[in-house]
Amino acid sequence: MKNRKPSRYEERVQQAYLAQQQSGRPVNILGIETSCDETSASVVQDGRTVLSNIIASQADIHKRFGGVVPEVASRRHVENITLTIEEALQEAGKTLDDIQAIAVTYGPGLVGALLVGVAAAKAISYARGIPLIGVHHIAGHIYANRLVTEMEFPLIALVVSGGHTELVWMKEHGHYEILGETRDDAAGEAYDKVARALQLPYPGGPHIDRLAHEGTPSIPLPRAWLEPNSYDFSFSGLKSAVLNTLHNASQRGESISPQDLAASFQDSVTEVLVEKTIRAVKEYGARQVLLAGGVAANRGLRERLSKRCGEEGLPLVIPPLSLCTDNAAMIAAAGYISYQKGRFARLDLNGVPGLPLS
């Protein structure tokens, strides 16, 4: 219906927003993130200052299954959701009276998991008559950087995690252009698969990183540069090459140093990620490079990107580990941009597993 009368909820939200704008007081946003296996809630002030960031991790639960089980994750989210939110308020020393808006991840992610956070956010927004903001998970990862240092535009963000590998160009706040993304496995996924082949425990990324530092990249492995102009990524060929190397060696009765193999694999992944990032910086122009996502914790990637950015004289921002992995503070930080623009979601907000970033 086009010209319908606004609901009481919509009126209350508008009133609350106007009153806040006139007051000039700081804006406290409650962030909620449940896109995968972390139930997280956070209070962030003015998009920059983390007052609390509670993460109820399910990592131990999913470890036994060798990966995240969506149904199990969704069940834990619904058990933990209000507890986690309450903890976030308590740690921030706030009550819901001090919260001006609710920001929630509505995609991409596991649909059943997303729905729990979205339902909770909508319910609280409705009950309190305060704005609801839908946040894209990748935008959240990028905005984790703003909790560390102010963003300088234009910028290039490299987002790497278990589910994502994206190169994003931003010319201003809230504007995202995807330059490249993975055509098959995400970088973090490739790490997990290679780790499994090397019989390392799940999640394998940190183990590969550790082994890589003990070995030398002496085993030749391919680099998937794809077409000369492409900023896309592909890691499945590399993963297969690693598996073949292991397989061939075992057939010949030779042993392969896991340290050297890990180092060679990591060398291939980080070279492609870093060189494509640097090339994008040069082509599009950027005053800042941001590294985001869970794989930003990877030492090999951090070191290589730092070195190359140093050579090119580019400022690089890497958030601390606690803000790299999935958390609600980054969602609240990204949500603040929408808040300033008055861009709010309606009560029919849904969880969208394949939500595009645009």
Binding site: R8, G112, V116, L347
Partner: protein, 241 residues
């Protein structure tokens, strides 16, 4: 006057109601199989406006806690507990099966609501009522093969009539008729949907018992498949539930 908001999204039907003491102020029930995540909050907002109810006027929230579709149950429970938590009021979970069975109050005989659970299984239970009194549980709710369930009902019912209820009867009606013959009755279409008003009134009666939002969890009646498999392979760890 205590007002309660109630909701059921545990299966394909969406039902929302606002009730007050012994009156139903408004109720919305649709069987359009639209996405509950998209529809639920708008339906609540509409009904609350319709009845001139502000969220802070609510004394409690009632919700169908399952069994049913895992996702559907979670949408209802997450919404209800989050709303109750932010309003600092109790949330009361009512069995989704019982919510359907309440439609048969006044029937003398065995009341058997059921939801299809695939692979020949159903979520079901058996209730009894007398002279419009509250339902009493005859057989605890469970996940069971329909054939086994019908066999055990036959023993339990003796000569009594058995009233089967629920939207999913269309799937299982033949099997039931085959096994129970004349003894089986089938509820008319008007009685097969869960009605949130029943949940609201049941919740009203239990508000004094509390019902802390943190403790409100769905009743799935079964483990997630991965968990069940894992437990089968690691029997020493036992079932924690």
């Amino acid at each position: 006057m205590m007002r309660v908001l109630a909701m059921d999204t545990s299966n394909l039907v969406l039902s929302v109601a606002v009730v007050e003491e012994d009156r139903i102020l408004a109720e919305l029930t649709t069987n359009q199989q639209k996405n509950h995540s998209v529809r639920l909050m708008d339906a609540i907002s509409e009904l609350m406006d319709e009845t001139g109810t502000l969220p802070e006027q609510l004394a409690g929230i009632g919700v169908a806690k399952g069994p049913g579709s895992y996702t559907g149950v979670r949408i209802g429970v997450a919404t209800a507990k989050s709303m109750a938590w932010s309003l600092q009021i109790p949330v009361i979970g009512v069995s989704s099966l019982e919510a359907v069975a309440m439609n048969a109050r006044g029937f003398s005989g065995l009341i058997v609501p059921l939801f299809d659970a695939r692979r020949g299984q159903v979520y079901t239970g058996a209730f009894r009522t007398k002279d419009w009194a509250e339902l009493s549980v005859v057989a605890e709710e469970r996940l069971v093969l329909l054939r086994d369930w019908l066999a055990s009902l036959k023993e339990q019912a003796g000569n009594e009539r058995v009233l089967f209820m629920g939207e999913d009867l269309r799937i299982h009606r033949e099997t039931i008729a085959e096994q129970l013959g004349e003894q089986a009755l089938f509820a008319p279409a008007t009685h097969n949907h869960p009605r949130a008003a029943h949940i609201g009134l049941a919740a009203l009666g239990k508000l004094a018992e509390g019902g802390h939002p943190h403790e409100m969890v769905p009743e799935y009646l079964q483990l997630a498949e991965a968990e069940a498999k894992w437990l089968a392979q690691n029997p020493a760890c036992g079932v924690k539930e």
